[in-house]
Amino acid sequence: MPDSYDVVVVGAGHAGVSAVTTLLKEGFEGTIALIDVGDSLPYERPPLSKGFLVGAEEVDSFLFRTADYWEEAAVDLVLGTRITSVDPVAHRVRTDDDRAFGYRKLIWAAGGSARMLRVPGAELAGIHTVRTLEGVARLKDDVRGARRAVVIGGGYIGLEATAALRALGIEVTVLEALDRLLERVTSPIISDYFLRLHTAHGANVRFGVAISGFSEGQAPDRVGGVVLEDGEVVPADLVIVGIGLIPEVTELLHAGAEVTNGVVVDDRCRTSLPGVYAVGDCANHANPYAEGAQLRLESVQNAAEQGKLAALDIIGRSEPYEVVPWFWSNQYDAKMKMAGIMGGYDRLVVRGDPAAGEFTVVYFKDGRLLALDCVNRPGDYMQGRALIERRAHLDPELVADVSLSLKEVQARSGAPASG
């Protein structure tokens, strides 16, 4: 294995793999190393909290590429290896097993780690997070004997895990610190919908709950309950903690990169360090669909797009970041697809009937379509995404009329698309 590469990519998630495959597809002839801390061939993360957790899908079905592909590709895949430092002057990264790789360009796609509660008992067996294949494989081992689970955090990861556990017949209590589900990422209408959905599927959801620790059960060193601030113990033989992600930025921070809630990058994913890009969950960028606000997106779309942009910049075909953000979440039979960024909306319109399980929440700002949350309405999502891209202005009263498609709504809305 050489000790120097034209491109070193750190992290083999959606962002890193997108960078590498873009380079390969575009005929890049330099040398490439793809380094990841995990031992598995690169895999997609979304199934971890869905099909993989319930046992409906095995990892072979969600590898980015087969083993054959990686054997044939002109890429050195370096697995089970953590980068411990970046020397931005020598253009060199060091690994936890004392190797060093020189780079001409470095793409930092290291993602992040699941945030853990720092409370007494957090080290007990039976307490899990959902972020890596290895971690979810351990979780699945514990799921087998579990009867009562507590899910800490009513965000997407926690709720998808809840749906998976309910499908497996396990009792679930969701403990959320705030006063509604998905509070940071969506409107109360969607929060209420998911609360009803989970309640209807037998999950118990509690709000405004502060956690002070974990207690041992009958088995030594294994969790038996979640201790709340008021002393109540919620019994649990399995705990899933889904309270967010800590972006993996330490090595770049030490190397002198600008870091503010992630590694700050420009619209080509370039960091403040020469020849160093940051992409995906760990990258903080100005998003054109959030009025240029600096933010960090944890999504497949953002990761894949930023990986591609870094690769294109390296091969001299630079493009700016300009795609509409999109996301999805599957819970029970609800398939929610989201487009745009709803933060800062000044008006919302509900299209369809939440009680019927098919509806879209449409968000506006100053009359302009900002974002959509589409529950079991894929047509709204696809049409709406295109309209967001065009900065369309829609007549809110027409939007509420489900007999019209969103394209038809736009055609009948007086104001033309602007911007």
């Binding site: 495959t21 390969l24 597809k25 997609e44 979304p46 199934p47 079905s61 969600f62 980015f64 590429r65 087969t66 054959d68 592909y69 497949v300 779309q301 894949a304 999109w326 999805w328 599957n330 398939k335 697809k337 309405r377 894929p378 047509g379 999502y381 696809m382 049409q383 295109a386 394209k407």
Partner: protein, 105 residues
């Protein structure tokens, strides 16, 4: 191994590649870095980056469209009556020799 042929609406040369039974058209394409098939969402019908045209001779010999796929295919770029999402077409030995066309970007 069975094979699938990708044609390209922009006139590039056909690519005939092997697939593993159980892969979808999208997965078969992605694993060979077929240009124009990205499969960003992994088969969730959330990105429409695996849009292909299934050749007429094969339309009856692949899984039919769900209503969700229909709603998405209506809105893809360069739609045709034979438009499909590659992620929704599983491949088995019965599809050995299938031909699909990748739309123009």
């Amino acid at each position: 191994m069975p094979t699938i042929t990708f044609r390209f609406a922009d006139g590039n040369a056909d690519r005939e590649v092997a697939f593993e039974p159980g892969q979808s058209v999208m997965q078969a394409a992605v694993n060979k870095d077929i240009p124009g098939v990205i499969g960003e969402c992994g088969g969730e019908m959330s990105c429409a980056t695996c849009h292909v045209y299934v050749e007429d001779a094969w339309t009856e010999r692949v899984r039919s469209m769900s209503s969700a796929e229909e709603e998405i295919v209506e809105v893809v770029e360069n739609p045709r009556p034979e438009s499909r999402l590659g992620c929704q077409i599983p491949l088995t030995e019965a599809q050995d020799g299938i031909v699909v066309t990748v739309p123009e970007a």
